[in-house]
């Protein structure tokens, strides 16, 4: 299936390669570099490239391209999903997945890749099993290894592959038994010039950090499970139980994992937590434009809107912007024309605003495009959909675990305000 893997950095250098079958020459990546040159943006490189003898399937994460070489028919998503799993594993092991981190831990990287694929077919991709086979690096272990020349391969023989529950190893022990769940929701909305919502949807995830002894069997129930329109589970969740009772019943993996991703049904009206008042005008013939932006909270149930970050791509004709923020700081990049305004926390008594003028290129005509405004924000202690966990129970073990649930709302890819004019109809 997967023949080889090349890791390519932003400047187009191959800094790591791994072959599972025979060695494929580096020159195969030339086709990839060609495509990279043709693409205007890094993310515009086609994920699947066909070359005379091979196919290249790539993903871009953390400004590194992971390029897999394929020789025959295989579902492209199979490869893409696997490559993302590789990145997730690296992140899990090294904290970050950067070129430097990979180069520093090159031995572990090779060991991981060797275990994750056998003859090009995925073998062990569960982080729990991998961690039993190959110990994550620590400073002490790295030093000892450098001196003694030993490797990170586990001394003890792993049993995970044979455990009844493949995602959990046996014999887990903790002195403090804890289970934490983070309910994180993202709003993804497009709002038009007049402030009416074009689309708005809420996606959420429940990330868990479970450190429990033995083989605990957990059930998690919601006050309002009907909110959840579409869900996808970690393989540990018993699907039948969810279908029948809308209860999450599972034997958790050890450590951090994503229990559930969900989508809140679109019938429910999505409350947008902020509003934007804007006035951005360019006058024909004048080399000045006005910029006026005010933010305000809306439907936040008394919770503070924090970490607000506004960004806007101004038209190409804009030379510079001379603005005055009531709070926070702003930057304008005259090359990319990107305006960013780090607002911080919104104070409902004193609404943050950004006002001033933009200077236009002399003689240039009035810009056609209207800028879009992207807003990022965070609200602690609230899931905007109103989802509430009812209770968390544990069976199968005798001790009383410490349980914690945290809610958070974030703005997703784009809470954006498209400013446009109607063209026709």
């Amino acid at each position: 299936m997967i023949h080889s893997l090349f890791l390519v950095n932003a400047s187009g250098d191959i800094f790591l390669e791994k072959h599972w079958k025979s060695v494929v020459s580096r020159s195969v990546c030339d086709y990839f570099f060609e495509a990279q040159e043709r693409a205007t943006e890094p993310e515009n490189v086609p994920p699947v490239i066909s070359t005379p003898h091979h196919y290249l399937i790539s993903v871009l994460r953390h400004r590194i391209y992971f390029v897999a070489v394929i020789q025959s028919e295989v579902p492209p998503l199979f490869v893409i999903e696997f490559l993302h799993r590789v990145v997730d594993t690296f992140q899990d092991y090294f904290g970050v997945c950067t070129e430097a981190a990979i180069k520093d831990n090159v031995v572990v990287v090779y060991e991981l890749l060797e275990e994750m694929l056998d003859n090009g077919f995925p073998l062990a991709t569960e982080s729990n099993i991998l961690k039993e086979l190959i110990k994550p690096p620590t400073i002490l272990r790295t030093m000892v290894n450098t001196i003694t020349g030993s490797t990170n391969v586990g001394e003890q023989l792993p049993t995970g592959q044979l455990s009844v529950v493949p995602w959990r190893r046996t014999g887990v022990k903790y002195t403090n038994n804890e289970a934490y769940f983070d309910v994180v929701e993202e709003i993804d909305a497009i709002i038009d010039k007049s402030g009416s919502t074009i689309t708005a949807e809420i996606q959420g995830v429940i990330d868990a950090c479970v450190k429990l002894t033995g083989m605990p069997d957990l059930t998690l129930s919601f006050m309002n499970p009907r909110l959840l329109d579409d869900v996808s589970f970690h393989p540990c969740v018993r699907f039948k139980r969810w279908e029948a009772e809308r209860i999450l019943s599972f034997i958790p993996p050890d450590g951090n994992f994503r229990l559930l991703s969900y989508h809140v049904s679109s019938q429910n009206l999505v409350a947008i937590p902020v509003y934007v008042k804007h006035n951005i005008t360019f006058r024909e013939g004048s080399s000045q434009g006005r910029f006026d932006l005010t933010l305000g909270p809306k439907q936040t149930m008394g919770k503070a809107v924090e970490a607000v970050l506004v960004s806007s791509q101004l038209p190409r004709g804009v030379l510079n912007a001379n603005l005055n923020p009531s709070q926070g700081t702003y930057t304008f990049d005259p090359v990319t024309k990107l305006l960013t305004w780090d607002v911080g926390k919104i104070n409902p008594q004193k609404l943050p605003s950004l006002k001033g003028t933009m200077s236009l290129q002399a003689g240039a005509s009035k810009p056609d495009e209207n800028p879009t405004i992207n807003i990022q924000l965070k609200i602690q202690q609230m899931a905007i959909s109103g989802l509430k966990v009812n209770r968390l129970d544990m069976y199968g073990e005798k001790y009383k675990p410490f349980k914690g649930i945290k809610y958070m709302t974030k703005a997703g890819k784009s809470v954006s305000s498209y400013l446009f004019e109607f063209l026709f109809i």
């Binding site: 072959h19 025979s22 993903v59 999903e81 579409d230 056609d368």
Partner: protein, 969 residues
């Protein structure tokens, strides 16, 4: 070492050179080559008797091989260790690792050893080793394709494996080595369907893709009736016309008959087809995008139209994943929206474009939106498109304008609106936008030019400003083509063009020549000189195409003495009515590739792509999927290992759903009954073969233990035999009194629709079957719902597993319309849950039916005192005891309820007991009379422990499963 020193001694002896020779000896040459030394310690590690060291050495070697380093000098050491020692190692991980190393050595001499090792490992006790064997198969195949036949044998063997760990890997090997041998799948089809949910993610993808192909060869098209309706007209025609050729006519008649027959016969989905659809559906909730896509393509290719819709939501969910995932999913959605637009319409807004999307995603979303456009949503879509035109991403803007053009051609109602909008874009400041609009407008105008002469005039004016060659060429073509609509402007445009001719791009020059030719033919008075001027300029152009074109046109349109016959037709040639271009989706007809595949994405066949076959005309024999003979009775020496591991499904059994060790078929599946109208209750479960598997495992214990056990078994058997005698001599009244008074569960044997009015239900009456004490009594309840009488109801053609017997009920001679009657038949199930298949015959029809007993009905109650119970229980410990912890259902926390539920689920009797924390039940199997003991010990807060002791392990396991279900729900 001893071998090498002996070698040296010999050498030294013969040549008597002595010292210097030793320097070259690899075994001692540490000073010169560190490589040799390192390999030496690897050799030492391989020879050590510590597991961890061996494993470490093996891993290093694999890593070396993977990095393309030459490890060939380690070859003998590895083979010696691996093939001879480690493959026999008691630790399963060492065995697996050894095989992995061995199979990674790409040297042809090793082929026979590898083959042997794979064969050995394929029948290993440990599923992990068997999985490794499956992984090794493609490796050996790529090394030596001539081993194919032998490897297929191994694949066949591994396909029969019942563990989830092996399933994915062996199907992978199957796909690499022999994807054409679809016949190997038949017997394993149901098992694979049932295992699927517990297989690891990557295996799921491979299995689902393979089963999609399988289903296309084995089942009928569920949408056949619709496609017949579409083609119906054509069939009738052939029936009536042409009576020249007798033979041909006959054939056609036959065909017509066949199709008519198919039309009349309602489509009934094969239960196996349903099984596949049902078991894959939950996987739409997988976190793995590849699994979701695999299920989606399965539904798209296999499901009835009405059911395909379920995949839309899951696919839309994937759009929130990484952009690479979005890219692939959108490609597939684009193909799906052409055939099944309806299912994505509710999710229209999910395809709206975000300013942060990469261009390639934007363009794909645009494609989907265009495919989804129809009369009702077009205005929203167009409004959305307007905002896109304002985008700063010019490639995307161009694509949007083209999309507007396609909407306009597809939906007549909005054509004028779109055209107006596009015309307004002509005054856009961005030249690219204008150019793209011109090209699209040109295509739209070709559909109805007469109405739009003012637009053509408007465009004529644009030639002064617009510089994009493609747009200029389009305008010129339009003016030439419709010069009658703009008789005054056209010559003027030509005049201007003639002036700038030399500075134009080639495509523009060609269109200038075209325009000149057309004007010359329609309005030669005004344009004769201009045309000649243009043609003269073209004559000396640098581009040979343009020179050629000029020569050709001059000959054609300017009449000379020499000009041929063609010039008469010049006007017809140039001003013929041209068909309007069709604006089609590039994704049209891409669905002949299996969706989700690489070939589909590239729209070209990739190497190793397996075609998705067309549905068969008539379904192949469905009985090939019935599993009959247990093949696991024979087992090799490998299985004698002591490593005993009860492979439990992770979740399946606690949920009472099909588990890896047991097929869902072995339980009466009420869900399937309501969903699929099928005559036979799903039959042919592999549980029988599994029984033999487990019993073989249990037989393979240490010899001494074995003997002791056999002794005990004999004793018990004797005891039971005597008991049986007793129970035979006595009337069976006692059993009847024991049977619980609770309502007996009814099962459907024949639905009244399939039975054409006759419906039959059956229940296990729990009465002794007087003609034969070894049989289970099955009470059948016949109801005649039809308007006519049914006569001669009887049983025929009984198909049974070896050892099973049936005592038929006496023929029912007459069952008048609207009446009902009952009859009792006896079945000796041989203590297995195998179905008894037979035909139920009336005077007119025969129906294939089957009876499948729940495990609880394979036993009858016995009276034991508490002491007797304890004594028997102590004899049935170890392997024969199965315990499970459970949480009792809230309604089932008192003694009465527990007794009620247990006795309903299984035909057992209560054993009197002193403690109120324990309920005990006893029974014995009907055929062999093996004791079945069940204990439910209750603890605090609804916790309880269920223990079943039974000599027959399969019965025990299944009973535990059923009782767990009964007590927890």
């Amino acid at each position: 070492m001893s071998a090498s020193s002996a070698f040296n001694d010999e050498k030294g002896g013969s040549s008597s050179v002595g010292e210097p020779e030793y320097g070259h000896d690899p075994a001692s040459g540490g000073i010169f080559s560190s490589d040799y030394k390192r390999h030496d310690d690897l050799k030492e590690m391989l020879d050590s008797n510590k597991d961890a060291l061996k494993l470490e050495a093996m891993k290093r070697i694999v890593a070396m091989i993977a990095r393309g380093k030459n490890a060939s000098d380690l070859f003998p050491a590895v083979v010696k260790n691996v093939a001879c020692k480690n493959i026999e190692d008691p630790n399963q991980l060492i065995r697996a690792s050894a095989l992995r190393v061995l199979s990674s050595i790409r040297v042809t001499i090793i082929v026979p050893i590898m083959m042997l090792a794979i064969k050995e490992a394929a029948s290993d006790m440990s599923p992990y080793v068997r999985k490794t064997a499956a992984h090794a198969i493609p490796k050996l195949y790529s090394l030596d394709p001539e081993q194919k036949d032998q490897l297929i044998e191994v694949i066949e063997k591994l396909l029969a494996d019942k563990t989830t760990l092996v399933a994915g890997s062996v199907v992978m090997a199957f796909e690499e080595v022999c994807p054409e041998r679809i016949d190997l799948i038949h017997k394993n089809y149901r098992k694979l369907c049932n295992l699927l949910i517990d297989v690891e993610e990557w295996g799921q993808v491979v299995i689902i893709n393979m089963l999609t192909r399988y289903a296309r060869t084995q089942f009928l098209n569920p949408n056949i009736n619709e496609s017949l309706l579409e083609e119906g007209g054509g069939g009738d025609k052939t029936f009536y016309c042409s009576d020249e050729d007798e033979d041909e006519d006959e054939e056609k008649e036959k065909q017509a008959e066949v199709s008519a027959l198919a039309k009349r016969k309602p489509y009934v989905m094969d239960p196996d087809h349903r099984l596949l659809l049902r078991n894959t559906k939950p996987l739409l909730q997988s976190r793995n995008a590849a699994v979701v896509m695999a299920v989606a393509q399965l539904y798209f290719h296999l499901a009835p139209k009405a059911e395909v819709g379920v995949i839309a939501k899951a696919l839309v969910r994937l759009l929130r994943s990484h952009s690479e995932v979005q890219f692939v999913v959108l490609q597939n959605v684009a193909t799906m929206t052409i055939k099944r637009r309806g299912m994505f319409e509710p999710y229209l807004k999910s395809f709206y474009i975000r300013s942060t999307d990469p261009t390639q995603i934007k363009i794909l979303k645009l494609e989907v939106l265009t495919n989804l456009a129809n009369e009702t949503n077009i205005s929203t879509i167009l409004r959305e498109f307007q905002t896109y035109i304002k985008s700063m991403d010019k490639d995307f803007v161009a694509a949007t304008i083209q999309a507007i053009g396609r909407c306009a051609t597809n939906i007549g109602e909005v054509r004028d609106t779109c055209l107006n909008g596009l015309v307004q874009l002509l005054s856009n400041r961005d030249e690219l936008v204008v150019a793209e609009s011109v090209v699209v407008i040109k295509k739209l105008l070709q559909m109805q030019p007469e109405k739009h002469s003012d637009i053509i005039k408007h465009m004529a004016k644009l030639t002064d400003n617009i510089q994009v060659p493609m747009a200029r060429a389009s305008i010129l073509w339009l003016i030439g083509e419709y010069c009658e609509h703009v008789p005054k402007i056209a010559p003027d445009v030509l005049r201007k063009m003639a002036k700038s001719f030399t500075n134009e791009e080639d495509i523009v020059k060609l269109q200038i020549i075209n325009l000149a030719a057309k004007l010359y033919l329609t309005n030669s008075k005004q344009t004769k000189l201009l045309t000649q001027y243009v043609l003269n300029l073209a004559k000396y152009d640098q581009n040979y195409d343009i020179r050629d074109r000029a020569r050709f046109i001059r000959q054609l349109i300017v009449p000379t003495e020499k000009s041929g016959a063609l010039s008469k037709y010049a006007k017809k040639l140039f001003l013929a009515l041209k068909p309007a271009p069709v604006l089609e989706s590039p994704f049209k007809d891409r669905d002949h590739f299996q969706l989700g595949s690489l070939s589909h994405l590239l729209n070209a066949k990739a190497g190793g792509y397996q075609e998705l076959p067309d549905w068969p005309e008539s379904a192949p024999d469905p009985s090939v999927r019935n599993v009959e003979v247990p093949e696991w009775t024979k087992c090799s020496s490998r299985e004698k290992r002591k490593e005993k591991k009860v492979e439990k499904p992770f979740y399946s059994d606690s949920e009472g759903e099909s588990g890896p060790t047991e097929s869902a078929d072995s339980e009466p599946d009420t869900g399937s009954g309501s969903e699929s109208v099928s005559v036979s209750v799903e039959s042919g479960s592999p549980s029988d073969s599994e029984e033999s598997e487990e019993s073989s495992e249990s037989d393979e214990d240490e010899e001494e233990e074995e003997k002791e056990k056999k002794k005990k078994k004999k004793e018990i058997k004797q005891m039971q035999a005597s008991e049986r005698l007793v129970s035979r001599s006595k009337p069976d009244v006692s059993f009847q009194t024991i049977a619980p008074s609770s309502a007996l569960k009814n099962y459907e044997l024949l639905h009244r629709i399939t039975g054409e009015g006759l419906s039959v239900e059956y229940c296990f009456s729990r009465q002794a079957f007087s003609p034969d004490a070894n049989m289970v009594a099955v009470q059948m309840h016949f109801t005649n719902n039809a308007t006519s009488d049914t006569k001669n109801l009887h049983i025929e053609d009984v198909k049974l597993q070896s050892g099973m017997r049936v005592k038929e009920f006496a023929e029912i001679e007459l069952l008048p319309a609207g009446e009902a009657t009952t009859a009792v038949m006896g079945v000796d199930f041989c203590d297995s849950t195998q179905a008894a298949n037979f035909q139920l015959c009336t005077h007119t029809r025969k129906f294939f039916v089957s009876i499948q007993p729940p495990v609880g009905e394979l036993m009858r109650p016995v009276f034991l005192t508490e002491n007797e119970f304890k004594k028997e229980q102590s004899q049935l410990m170890g392997m024969n005891e199965i315990s499970e912890n459970l949480t009792l259902d809230a309604k089932c926390r008192n003694e009465h309820a527990i007794v009620q539920r247990v006795t309903t689920a299984a035909n057992l009797s209560r054993v009197p007991c002193g403690s109120d924390k324990e309920c005990r039940f006893a029974g014995k199997t009907v055929t062999s009379g093996s004791l079945v003991l069940a204990t439910v010990a209750t603890k605090d807060e609804g916790a309880a422990q269920l223990t079943v002791n039974c000599e027959k392990m399969v019965i025990g396991t299944m009973l535990v499963k059923d009782l767990l279900l009964a007590l927890t729900q």
